[in-house]
């Protein structure tokens, strides 16, 4: 990845595997696209900690300061750069899959970037 790409203002989405998280990523990206905020998905080589720490790493590398972490078990977290991992904006646990909730997290990531009120189901 070249330096130019990182400099673009995007919401960064980190996942442990792109294939394994496809169904979640699709919904998250729908939310971001509908709100018109650019995003970028990256597969992270190794994930030692929780999905919250993954999201925090994403937010720290995002030029917008907004990151999402997704794991193949469906766990998902939305964080802003200045938030500690124990205070995420929103988290989802993978046990029960509701596509609307993943889309909602994408919408909220976008709204955070646009400085618009968030939506909570």
């Amino acid at each position: 990845m070249s330096k130019d790409e990182i400099k673009k203002p995007v919401v960064l989405i980190y996942c442990d595997t792109i294939e394994g998280t496809n169904i979640y990523l699709k919904k998250i990206c729908e939310g971001l696209e509908e709100e018109g905020v650019p995003f970028q998905i990256q597969q992270v080589e190794k994930v030692e900690d929780s999905v919250e720490v993954l999201a925090q790493n994403a937010s720290r590398n995002s030029n917008l300061g907004i990151g999402i972490g997704v794991l193949k078990n469906g766990d998902c977290a939305l964080l802003q750069r200045r938030l500690p991992p124990n205070l995420p904006i929103q988290t989802l646990r993978g046990e029960k899959y509701d596509p609307n909730l993943y889309r909602n997290i994408g919408i909220n990531a976008a709204r955070l970037a646009k400085n618009l009120p968030l939506v909570f189901a």
């Binding site: 729908e30 696209e33 509908e34 709100e35 018109g36 802003q80 200045r82 938030l83 205070l87 904006i89 929103q90 909220n108 709204r111 955070l112 400085n115 618009l116 009120p117 968030l118 909570f120």
Partner: protein, 604 residues
Amino acid sequence: MIIAGVDIGNSTTEVALAKVNGDEIRFLASGISNTTGIKGTPQNVEGVRHALEDAVRKANLTIKDIDLLRINEATPVISDIAMEAITETIITESTMIGHNPTTPGGVGLGIGITIPIFELEKCKHGEEVIVVIPKNVDYEDAAKIINNAFSKGVEVKGAIAQKDDGVLIATRLQRRIPIVDEVKQIEKVPIGMLACVEVAEPGYTIKTLSNPYGIASVFNLTAEETKNIVPVARALIGNRSAVVIRTPKGEVQERKIPAGTLIIKGNNRTFTVDIEEGAEAIMSAVESTWPLVDAKGTPGTNVGGLIARIKETMADVTGQDSSNIQIQDVLAVDTLVRQKVKGGIAEEFSSENAVALAAMVKSSKLPMEKVAQKIEQEIGIAVEIAGIEANMAIIGALTTPGTELPLAILDLGGGSTDAALMTKNGEVKSVHMAGAGEMVNMLIKTELGIEDKYLVEDIKKYPVCRVESLFSIRLEDGTVRFFKEPLDPRTFARVCLLREDGLLPLPPELNMEKVINVRRNAKRKVFVTNALRALSKVAPAGNIRLIDFVVMVGGSALDFEIPEMISDTLAGYGIVAGRGNIRNVEGPRNAVATGLVLSRCKRK
């Protein structure tokens, strides 16, 4: 001996507890409680007991230590409020979708016949249509179906979608068409009708559908039909997207509701005012007939109901016949009511003109003896009925540092705004005006369209702020405050009330300027108007400029901006006005209760 002054008010019962030794008075504590029942009725005893308990606890005493209670000869003032809408927008047959989804798709203006997306494949080459997409159709499928239609030569001009996926559909289409999404009741969209969809560029608002002639051009309307469409165009002003559908019988009317009339009787003349003439006409009739002998409203209207209700309440309290009860004052205020458009599809709202009214009755005397007897029986302390409420309030207000006679007070309450003036030789003139805190609440409630009455009270009481980031808020005065800990994400980018216990987010459709404007205007229209009306009626020779000092007391004097608004206005008449500070410790509360204690010693 220990004396307690007890002031039973419309909404609160206040106590001033003092130790009296000859001429020496030492105040021990104050107590406060909600008034139980309507002021002047035996139900008040419970509230009196709570307020006394509150006071003795602070003074480390028990109720048994009190030797004497002094209660005020309450002025029986009851007021009530009502609202009379003058206009109403009705759409017979669904004709417009005027809501403002945050993210509509595409851009431009499209005109065509409405058709469900499932029937798109049946359309012929060159047919001009608007596609209706219900929520069970996925955006990818919707885009595929529409693209197929494009390749067959069908002119898809625009789309109406139920889910929030206008942008997702638009970006997958071969051509750019306007798409309005988040239309909740999509099943109400009439099929097979000529419709127009408009989506403006980001940052702009729609131009064609918010203009009556624009709608007329789209649908080839006659002059008469254009007149009827005006309310639709008006309701769409400021939107980024809209749909207007022409149905054969479709008709929009701005109906005038027969609002009833108010008959205002004075000593010499009687005025009849149509409510729809507005507040100004009503108030000029009230002022030119003052003092009022009575007022009546057309039965079956809100005005009629309001006046009948007040009279009945007063009749109950005093045991008189309601035909003997007379209205003493009326305050009318112009307002706007946020009402749901009848017949709209996506919960459109329109602002309708309305008049808010407060009315007040005063009877000769409340049966305070009964209350006094009941207190003696149930609490077991001797009770004295002391002087008139207004006199007591002035005696109490005089304990505010920096005041002297002649002094006027403004009692800013919940139900009525009262004024009293005491001259150098102790003569008192007092007056009660309809309309106070409760009317402010009603105006806030209707203009902002909020049903929750606790939220309305909070909007009146607390300033607003906007959460600008997860760590900072912008206050009403434009300054920014930072927090160490992140704020609740639920408050992010929202307008919130700045309560002591944290931020309370308001409904997302309210913006900060609107909340501030509505709140300040409501307070000004009620309290500033009534302060001037009341003071000019107690002023020497009716000239408000002859008053030097005004002390504001009562619950609404605790408000963070009402006293400043009044002080500011009165300064223009050369009057020193400010919030009272009873006994240099109580602020604007406890004036009457304090006066009740002091008056006993002064008489000796």
